[in-house]
């Protein structure tokens, strides 16, 4: 009998819970029309950055690829030629591909990168109907030449620094404090800010 009453009570509790929810405010955000404000360091789509002189930051070292826990990154390096200098120093990434379907957006690539070349932007809208289109190559990852930040090591008084530590010191100029606004399309997102949906 006690179990019977218990069952009735718990049933009633269940019905009460769902009935309560019926009237509660829904946390859903009506996504395409209302966009949520992300945390400033949200991990979204990758971006390969440049220096202010337009040179690629990426030196094709593959440290991101080896750091990647999802094996999502493929890099094939090549040597810069005097006629076609892509990056400061000797090596650049001839191919740089990220399989965004494999990517878990953990940001370890960003941490591994010795030149701050690969960064995760707050962009996340990349849905598509074809699987192949989620393999982002340099054509989509690399920012336009005018979107460069910071000084290329080439342009320093002593030429190519023998110590990449000074490149790491650049981190402070990369606007981590102001978050995504450092990325070249960040402005767009900022104006879209609408807050949480009702």
């Amino acid at each position: 009998m006690r179990t019977f009453i218990g069952a009735i009570v718990s049933l009633a509790q269940g019905f009460y819970t769902t009935f309560q929810f019926f009237f509660q405010k829904k946390p859903t955000i009506a996504y395409p029309s209302i966009k949520k404000q992300h945390a400033p360091r949200f991990h979204g789509l990758h971006e390969l950055r440049r220096y202010a002189d337009g040179k690629e930051r990426c030196i094709g070292c593959e440290l991101c690829a080896i750091a990647c826990p999802a094996n999502a990154i493929t890099v094939i390096g090549a040597e810069n030629t005097p006629e076609d200098r892509r990056s400061p120093g000797e090596r650049y990434a001839a191919r740089y591909e990220i399989d965004e379907l494999r990517c878990i957006f953990c940001g370890l690539c960003e941490e591994a990168c010795p030149t701050d070349a690969i960064v995760l932007t707050p962009r996340f809208e990349m849905s598509d109907y074809r699987r192949g289109s989620f393999i982002y190559a340099k054509d989509r990852l690399l920012v336009p030449p005018e979107a460069g930040v910071g000084t290329s090591p080439d342009e320093r008084p002593n030429g190519i620094p023998s110590d990449l530590g000074s490149v790491l010191a650049q981190k402070s100029t990369v606007d981590i404090a102001s978050g995504y606004s450092a990325t070249w399309r960040g402005e767009l997102l900022k104006t879209d800010r609408k807050g949480l949906a009702g």
């Binding site: 094709g60 080896i66 094939i76 390096g77 040597e79 000797e90 090596r91 023998s162 990449l164």
Partner: protein
């Protein structure tokens, strides 16, 4: 040595061990699996005591000792770790890293770098250097194969010592001193060596890098597999490093002391780009009305089998012929004989180049025997040009054991080393060779007349002495082919006879496996080409559209040595194993698979894979009775050499080059700089007499024809009165000519061409 060496007992890290007297501490530590860090020390190069990273604490000595140059002593107590040792190593590393750039992310060595590893283990993390680092030149072009990054160099001198001790070439030195020291060639000329790639492996940091591998990949990307190099007959074990289906580099195998001793020649190391070349054949091609038509494998094999049956039915098995080449494994060579003999065909031969014999007979020696020889006789093309790794053994015997080196013939040695020279094998009698107990004879296997003459002399000496004989020919796995029965038996035609029969219209079908007779067969390309074109149905298995494949009816896309498994014989007759190291392109089949398909289409029983392997491995290598064994040659070939050259002309020497050939080398774009020019090499005296200079263009005129537009190269090591040309160049085929014949220089032009490398 008198009896067993004296033993010494010592203690390393609390473990007591007994080692022979004179053992270095670093080697003794290896016995108890203790690794002492080293940079300058290398087991094959010996101690140098330069880098001092190997500091260990020896009790009762006031200071730390270097393990690489301290020999063991009785009762010695050694500590290879502990605060004192680690402090010492940290200090050493701080100095080594003082000017070392932190460009590990782009360094080819990064990931397999001893400097990285020991910096992690012992380094102190941050540099205390307040001033800017020394800026040194990066990407110095040392030669056709090597690039030097001088900032990374820690001056361990492994490369210069390799060049001095192992190759005896002595071209690399340390220039300048102190923090401005730099690795360079002593003369300032490019660093050219057929063993240059080894310095990149010896380099403990990323200072010396291979041009073909520079910035291509990182070590952890590579899939490594162990196989055997079959670019020549030496049979070195080789590590194949593959990524994304492309062979990016090859590395030597440190434990391969039986053959390569951990070295590789540049051809074996660098001629690997062809595997992923877009010009690879990937589908059977049939020539129909002068056009190439793609064909499915089944149709191709059916067509071939049908043609063979028709030829046998209409003209008998004597109208068939099969030629094999050097890419074949023992199993494949065996199967060619098996399939064609099943059809009744005896026209089977492997001799598609100048080499006519592969096995040296019962006195054949091993690699280790070369080192023990007191006198070394090189007859014909020297091993340096055909089996470079064998030449390292000879150099070792000469430099470390003081062996006497005797050359027979006109061939030039690539290095400066004391030697004597005679014209013919029978002239050796004047050299008192009978005072030596151990003599090694090397023959190039080309001229059976020279071979039989040499055999006569060697057999005469054999009484009471150790005679080691070697045939260091240019054909890879020729021994396997010969041993597996790829030679005519019971009245079959040899390769020369086959082409003669073809010219007479007596051949209905010719199968060419992995060979390029148009480029290499004696008699001249035009003659071979004409013979092949005269055969109604010619099948070629090839990786590329070679000059021979171009003349065939049916071309089948085959697989390269790194793409298949099997066994080969090395030049000493030992079995070596091939394992696939890279995925073959879709559409290709190995020669073995092609033969099995053909056999089943023909209705010929094939031994099962296991039985085939066993049979091929156990098949007693067919051994010649000696150099120039009459059983291998047609009558008349063995008669004494022709009368000496006329006094007026120059004697022609046809040399081989590591990077000549029309197949793989020709189709590897990375090797452009290494591929030899068509040169005519002369000694200084001869050049002066002929009034030509380095870089001139000349023609060489002989009875057989004219070789046009050869670049004159004047080099001191050539024999006066000879002109040396290279065999196997598709642009200037020398196969029409015969070594030793008299030629004249004509049409000398002073037009200087850009001279690449000597």
């Amino acid at each position: 040595m008198n009896g067993a060496p004296k033993e010494v007992t010592l203690t390393i890290d609390g473990t007591q061990l007994t080692v022979p007297e004179g053992t270095l501490l670093v080697e003794a530590a290896k016995r108890i699996k203790t690794d002492i860090p080293v940079y300058c020390y290398h087991p094959k190069l010996g101690p140098a005591g330069l880098c001092r990273i190997c500091l260990v604490d020896v009790e009762k000595t006031p200071k730390l000792q270097i393990a690489c140059n301290t020999t063991v002593g009785e009762g010695m107590v050694v500590h290879t770790y502990g605060p004192k040792v680690e402090d010492g190593r940290r200090a050493v590393l701080e100095f080594l890293l003082l000017n070392h750039p932190l460009d590990c992310p782009i360094c080819d060595k990064g990931g397999e770098c001893d400097l990285q590893d020991y910096s992690i283990a012992y380094g102190q993390g941050a540099s205390r250097l307040a001033d800017p680092k020394e800026i040194k030149p990066k990407a110095i072009d040392l030669g056709p194969t090597i690039v030097l990054d001088d900032e990374r160099c820690i001056v361990c001198q492994r490369c210069t010592r390799f060049d001095e001790i192992i190759t005896l070439e002595q071209s690399l030195v340390v220039k300048d001193r102190g923090q401005r020291d730099v690795i360079a060639t002593a003369t300032g000329t490019p660093y050219v060596s057929m063993f240059s790639g080894n310095v990149t492996e010896l380099c403990p940091v990323g200072a010396l890098t291979s041009k073909t591998y520079r910035f291509k990949s990182r070590p952890w990307d590579l899939n490594r597999s162990l196989t055997t190099c079959v670019q020549c007959s030496a049979g070195c074990a080789i590590n194949v490093d593959e990524r994304h289906g492309e062979v990016l580099r090859t590395m030597s195998v440190p434990g391969d002391d039986a053959v390569s001793e951990g070295w590789l020649c540049d051809r074996g190391r660098y001629n690997v780009g062809f595997y992923s070349d877009p010009r690879r054949l990937t589908s059977p091609l049939l020539r129909r009305d002068g056009e190439w038509v793609q064909l499915g494998w089944e149709d191709a094999i059916d067509l071939w089998a049908r043609t063979l049956h028709e030829a046998v039915d209409s003209a008998g098995p004597k109208s068939l012929a099969a030629l094999g080449g050097g890419r074949l494994t023992n199993e494949e060579a065996y199967l060619i004989g098996h399939v064609f003999r099943a059809l009744g065909c005896e026209n089977i031969d492997w001799r598609t180049g100048r080499q006519r014999q592969a096995s040296p007979g019962p006195r054949g020696g091993t690699y280790a025997d070369v080192e023990s020889a007191q006198a070394i006789v090189l007859v014909g093309v020297p091993p340096a040009q055909t089996t470079p790794i064998m030449s390292l053994r000879i150099r070792k015997a000469v430099s470390q054991r003081g062996a006497r080196m005797i050359l027979v013939g006109d061939y030039a040695l690539p290095i400066r080393v004391a030697h004597e020279r005679v014209a013919r094998p029978r002239d050796l009698a004047s050299l008192d060779l009978d005072r030596y107990e151990r003599i090694a004879f090397f023959w190039d296997g080309i001229d059976p007349r020279v071979g039989s003459e040499l055999n006569e002399f060697a057999e005469g000496l054999a009484e009471g002495r150790k005679i080691f004989t070697y045939v260091t020919g240019e054909t890879p796995n020729a021994r396997g082919a010969e041993g597996m029965g790829l030679v005519p038996r019971s009245g079959g035609r040899d390769s020369v006879g086959m082409l003669a029969a073809a010219r007479d219209g007596n051949l209905r079908s010719l199968a060419i496996f992995a060979a390029n007779p148009v480029l290499h067969m004696p008699g001249g390309a035009d003659s071979v080409r004409g013979a092949i074109e005269n055969v109604p149905f010619v099948v070629t298995t090839e990786l590329f559209m070679t000059p021979t494949a171009e003349r065939s009816t049916l071309v089948l896309p085959a697989r390269g040595p790194f793409e298949k498994s099997g066994h080969t014989f090395d030049v000493t007759g030992a079995v070596r194993v091939l394992r696939p190291g890279v995925a073959a392109p879709t559409g290709t089949l190995s020669d073995l698979e092609i033969l099995i398909a053909l056999a089943s289409a023909l209705g010929v029983d094939v031994p099962g894979p296991a039985a085939l392997h066993r049979q091929a491995a156990l098949h007693a290598p067919w051994v010649a009775r000696g150099f120039g064994d009459p059983a291998l040659f047609a009558e008349g070939e063995l008669k004494a050499p022709r009368a000496g050259a006329k006094a007026t002309g120059l004697r022609l020497v046809i040399a081989a080059d590591l990077f000549s050939g029309g197949g793989t080398v020709y189709h590897d774009d990375r090797l452009g700089e290494l591929r030899p020019l068509a040169t005519a090499a002369l000694s200084e005296h001869t050049a002066a007499v002929a009034e030509v200079h380095d870089g001139y263009l000349v023609d060489i005129v002989a009875a057989e024809g004219t070789l046009r537009g050869l670049v004159v190269r004047v080099a001191p090591n050539h024999v006066d009165g000879t002109v040396t040309i290279l065999e196997g160049l598709p642009d200037a085929p020398a196969s029409a000519f015969e070594g030793g014949q008299t030629v004249a220089l004509a049409n000398v032009r002073a037009a200087r061409v850009p001279v690449g490398v000597a």
